[in-house]
């Protein structure tokens, strides 16, 4: 990774990285998932031609859970149909509505509190010239400018949208770590190896390239082992196309 990577320290009061099997009555994973880390970085800086690759997640605070309940709704506004989202986008007269009071559902969550992580990641540039058989641009030229843009934005606290820990309700405080000697050590309770079970790695989208229509979405899971608070994230098991 070396000079093309970044270290970002992220922390917050609460976090909820829902396990897919328990995302109705939500239960969080013990630690941040790589896809959640990617989401945070993308909130700060992203362009269509780059992809973030998460290399490591350092867990800095002890793993602590708490419960909350929230009122939510059980249905989605339909996309199709006369009063759906598609129709409303064409005709401003149409207002898609949902009866919040009649459709209310109380859902419980088991979430993490007082979290802090260090994300180590690097940028990959998707070079369409390579795809078309041309010569690739020099790596530092292509990656360097994106990396600098990210760093400038992160230093100033800029973001496209507020980065969050799993749910929009749980905002992220972030801080760019520029010197590797400033990397904070993990909490003592995290020392030693810890098996975290299978965890969501990322979701593979298979889209029709001519129509951009998503054909299938496949979740991929990996088995992280946390050693002294550090999780090495393997390469994604599928190819990313621009």
């Amino acid at each position: 990774m070396g000079k093309f990577g970044i270290f970002l320290k992220v922390s917050g009061d609460y976090a909820l990285f829902s396990r897919p099997e328990m995302k109705v009555e939500r239960v969080s994973y013990d630690v941040m998932t790589p896809s959640a880390a990617r989401g945070i970085l993308e909130a700060i800086y992203w362009k269509p031609q780059i992809r973030w690759t998460i290399d490591e997640i350092h867990v800095l605070n002890p793993i602590r859970f708490t419960n909350i309940r929230r009122n939510e709704i059980a249905s989605k506004i339909s996309v199709k149909g006369a009063s759906g989202v598609n129709a409303a986008m064409k005709n401003p007269e149409i207002r898609p509505t949902l009866d919040v009071a009649g459709d209310r559902q109380q859902r419980a969550s088991l979430l993490l509190k007082d979290v802090a992580y260090l994300i180590r990641a690097h940028i990959r540039v998707l070079d369409p010239r390579v795809e078309k058989g041309g010569a690739p641009s020099p790596e530092n030229e292509a990656v360097g400018k994106h990396l600098d843009m990210f760093k400038r934005r992160a230093r100033k606290g800029q973001a496209f949208h507020q980065p969050y820990f799993g749910c929009r309700e749980f905002p992220v405080r972030f801080e760019l770590i520029e010197d590797e000697s400033d990397i904070p050590p993990p909490d003592v309770s995290l020392m030693g190896p810890k098996d975290l079970g299978f965890m969501l790695h990322d979701i593979e989208f298979d889209a029709d390239r001519s129509t951009n229509r998503v054909r299938s979405t496949t979740p991929h899971f990996f088995r992280p082992v946390m050693t002294d608070g550090v999780i090495h994230v393997p390469e994604l098991p599928f190819a990313i196309r621009p």
Binding site: E25, F65, A74, Q105, G197, T217
Partner: protein, 586 residues
């Protein structure tokens, strides 16, 4: 981790006959009637399959039958060689539209006739002949069917002991279809529990026995409304879990909740139903349910002498710390899972994994925090003695007027704090203070709970019993209040509304506005005492007041200090009723 731990537990339970675990593809169902056929398929009789229990009431027989219980809903889903009267005999339920029973009976008949050739079992063929000739009108000829209730029925052949679904051929065929991946033809996906590629389950087993949830069971994994679905996936394909794992975790969890060994694993804490287990069988696992649910009272209630000794031994280890866990048991993984119902779903309140040694260490720390001199060390009449190690529900009980009003999240939070050794919920503290203000009762459990929160969350050092050297103003004020109350009692005898009933709340919250007033009335009470008692009391008051260093009474006490006030009061009050060394107590 939850499903993974339960999935691994399945293997342990399946290997232990005491748990009566159903093999894959089979489920235990309540059977209430038996259709007995002749070998050629003509009906011999319909018998009651229930047996009377010790009180003589008929109880359904639990039998292993092929397949799971059917999902609720209006779909037509006939069982194999077992089902209810509507499916097996075409009984028309009164509240259903015409043809309801007929359609279901027809579906069951179709299913069986189609399978007759592939199974090739004489018993199965007899059932087919019966289904061909049965007319639902004949139900009326068997009044017994009205009595047996809603249980399920099975088929038997006259003169054969085994039911038709228990015959070797049927069983072999059924297992064979399971290996082929059942009737589903879902594409293989990565299972999120094992990581291997397999066909995911569309529906997950229902979890029964969570207090407050539906009797038919509720789902741990379910996607029962559109808002819960993502990425265009439906039902449980939102969370790919292989059918085998879904069966195994469901069976293991149901066995802990409702199986024959449930008593050892299941625990109710407020509105939460908790189950716990160790990776292999341990003595600790056997005793823990009693200790959690009964505290130290459990020892007195246990009849069996060996077991009582084991429990006493365990509680002693909890009190003194360490030294209980047998050789090789100390590193056995320990799991506790808290479940609460939420509509048709089960939600997780807490899940904790540690080792048996760690658990005992955490229980010891909890005991150290909550330890308090007891008000009643012996049972008086119907009243139990105060438990040296209170059960979780006993602590929770002190936070509300009636048990139904206990804050729902408190039980889980408290249990989590105990087993993880983290801060107690602050809500526990304020709830206890609120109860004290409301009914002006400061008992053992309340002061012990307040102490536990102060010791662990606020690092305030509070001793187990009266500390005459403690000069912390709230503590002193609590003591002073107890002395003043005692003086009134000694002077006037029992009265309806003493100074505690009248002044406790304001004295503990705003001392400056109350204490000067009650100190004046104290003079009148003191005047009524005689000789030595008067002198002693006067000296005690001086002692307590001296600790206040003439700083006067504080205007207000924070919630935290009100807790210390209550403990000071309790300590002093308890001290009055404790016999002094070499001196007759008062």
């Amino acid at each position: 981790m939850i499903l993974q731990a339960l999935n691994e537990l399945y293997d342990r339970l399946a290997g232990d006959a005491a748990y009566e675990i159903a093999p894959p593809g089979f489920s235990p169902q309540k059977i209430s009637f038996r259709i007995v056929l002749e070998a050629d398929g003509t009906l011999h009789d319909i018998q009651d399959a229930r047996t009377p229990d010790e009180r003589g009431r008929p109880q359904n027989t639990v039998m292993l039958v092929p397949g799971e219980a059917k999902p609720s809903g209006s779909g037509i889903n006939p069982g194999l060689l077992w089902d209810n009267q509507t499916y097996l005999l075409g009984r028309q339920p009164e509240d259903k539209p015409a043809g309801f029973g007929e359609k279901r009976f027809e579906a069951l008949r179709q299913r069986h006739l189609e399978l007759e050739k592939t199974i090739e079992d004489p018993g199965f063929s007899a059932v087919c002949r019966f289904l061909e000739q049965w007319d639902p009108v004949r139900i009326a000829e068997y009044p017994r069917l009205n009595e047996v209730g809603t249980g399920f029925g099975i088929f038997g052949i006259r003169g054969e002991k085994r039911a038709v679904h228990e015959s070797k051929k049927v069983q072999e065929w059924w297992r064979g279809t399971l290996e082929k991946g059942g009737e589903g033809d879902q594409e293989a996906e990565q299972c999120l529990v094992t990581g291997s590629m397999s066909s995911p389950a569309r529906l997950h087993p229902k979890i029964k026995g969570v207090t407050g949830s539906q009797a038919a069971g509720a789902s741990l994994v379910s996607f029962n409304a559109a808002a819960y679905e993502s990425y265009g996936k439906t039902q449980s394909f939102n969370a790919p879990v292989s059918g085998e794992v879904a069966f195994q975790y469901g069976t293991a969890l149901n066995s802990l909740l409702t199986g024959p060994q449930a008593k050892k694993h299941r625990l109710r804490i407020g509105d939460t139903t908790a189950v716990f287990w160790t990776e292999k069988r341990t003595l600790l696992e056997d005793l823990l349910a009693d200790v959690f649910s009964g505290g130290s009272q459990a020892v007195e209630e246990t009849q069996d002498a060996t077991r009582r000794d084991q429990m006493r031994h365990l509680l002693e280890a909890v009190r003194s710390g360490g030294g209980y866990v047998e050789q090789g048991e100390s590193e056995t993984p320990f799991f506790i899972l808290g479940l609460a119902p939420n509509a048709a779903r089960v939600s997780i309140r807490f899940f904790h994994r540690s080792t048996t040694a760690d658990l005992l260490e955490k229980l010891h720390e909890h005991h150290r925090c909550i330890e308090m001199v007891r008000q009643f060390t012996e049972p008086i009449g119907k009243r139990f003695a105060d438990p040296a190690f209170p059960a979780i529900w006993q602590i929770l009980r002190e936070t509300a007027r009636v048990a139904d009003e206990i804050p729902p999240l408190l039980g889980g939070a408290l249990t989590r704090a105990i087993v993880e050794g983290t801060s107690y919920p602050e809500g526990l503290f304020s709830a206890v203070i609120r109860r004290i203000h409301a009914d002006r009762t400061i008992n053992y459990l309340r002061s012990a709970t307040l102490k536990a929160v102060l010791v662990r969350n606020h690092q305030i050092d509070i001793p187990v019993m009266l500390d005459p050297e403690n000069t912390d103003p709230p503590y002193r004020l609590g003591r002073l209040f107890a002395v003043l109350e005692k003086t009134q009692e000694d002077a006037l005898g029992p009265i309806n509304a003493g100074i505690r009933e009248k002044f406790y709340s304001s004295a503990s919250a705003t001392p400056a506005s109350v204490f000067p007033r009650i100190l004046r009335t104290y003079q009148h009470h003191l005047a009524k005492l005689n000789g030595g008692a008067k002198l002693n009391r006067e000296r005690l008051i001086q002692d307590v007041l001296a600790g206040l260093d003439g700083r006067g009474f504080p205007n207000q006490l924070s919630l935290k200090n009100q807790g210390i006030f209550a403990i000071g009061y309790y300590h002093q009050r308890k001290d009055f009723f404790t016999k002094k060394e070499g001196n007759k107590g008062d």
